[in-house]
Amino acid sequence: MEDFFEIAGNKYRSRLIVGTGKYKNFEETRRAIEVSGAEIVTVAVRRVNITDPNKENLLDYLDPKKFTILPNTAGCYNAEDAVRTCRLAREAGVGKLVKLEVIGDDKTLFPDVPATIEAAKILVKEGFVVLPYINDDPITAKRLEEIGCAAVMPLAAPIGSGLGIRNPYNIRIILEQAKVPVIVDAGVGTASDAAMAMELGCHGVLMNTAIASAKDPILMAEAMRLGIEAGRKAYLAGRIPKKLYATASSPLEGVLS
């Protein structure tokens, strides 16, 4: 069965979006991404170290012709910096897709919602395809969709926490309302968390730490790919309703007496 993840008119086979941070080296990054099956990868924009002549670059390991590069605005604490970062990213020539995150506090890394909305308005007007990182808040999701964001990306739990989906009910409300893809972004810890997101009906899951900081990142990348696939298939198959009491699986007729 053909089942594509569609974002801004582009079709992808994989519903897993992976980050490229925290790996031991670029080679491990490349291998983990390959095994994960992800077709969209996030990157950050940072100053070049001008005193270090070793100029190996992440894009030497991730062919932008093969992967959709999704630059983020991580580390930005106001709308102006986030917009500036997106403009720089676009100039790199990898497309108009941006992961907008405006951080409100460095302990929780929760988003600054008013600043995210402010930045999203500017970026949408400038023709960016904006994927905003937000709280698991249906109202924020609605506002950002109204502004013209191409998807909404509620967190499962704080970035890098590995707590999994803490409020599946809010995610369900967001899903019920949204006409754009809903991507769970941040807080996933293990494959069952990714599967749960898919079983809820989410369109995709974005993760970084859960893979990169696992003891064996390559094996975890595979586990995540399978978790996403299993969860998606279970969602499409339609699970049975939960019941309090048993229903026998074997026929009641013909039992020996």
Partner: protein
């Protein structure tokens, strides 16, 4: 002349173009994006962008991130 590159004061030769500076720093133009006095410079314009005393440059690239 003195420039501020990525937040650091640097002494470079007078009248250098952006393209020549990148060559001096051994930075591949294809992998970076540059702001010159807060304005993004198109890659095709590196060769004709002349630097001046007191200019500010931000040279950025993509790194691993989530």
């Amino acid at each position: 002349m003195k420039l501020k590159i990525n937040g650091e004061e640097r002494e470079i030769a007078d009248g250098l173009t952006l393209a020549a500076l990148l060559e001096d720093l051994k930075i591949r133009p294809a992998r970076v994006v540059i702001e010159h006095n807060r304005e993004i410079v198109a890659r095709e314009a590196y060769g004709v962008t002349r630097l001046a005393e007191g200019d500010t440059l931000e040279i950025v690239h993509f790194v691993g991130g989530g």
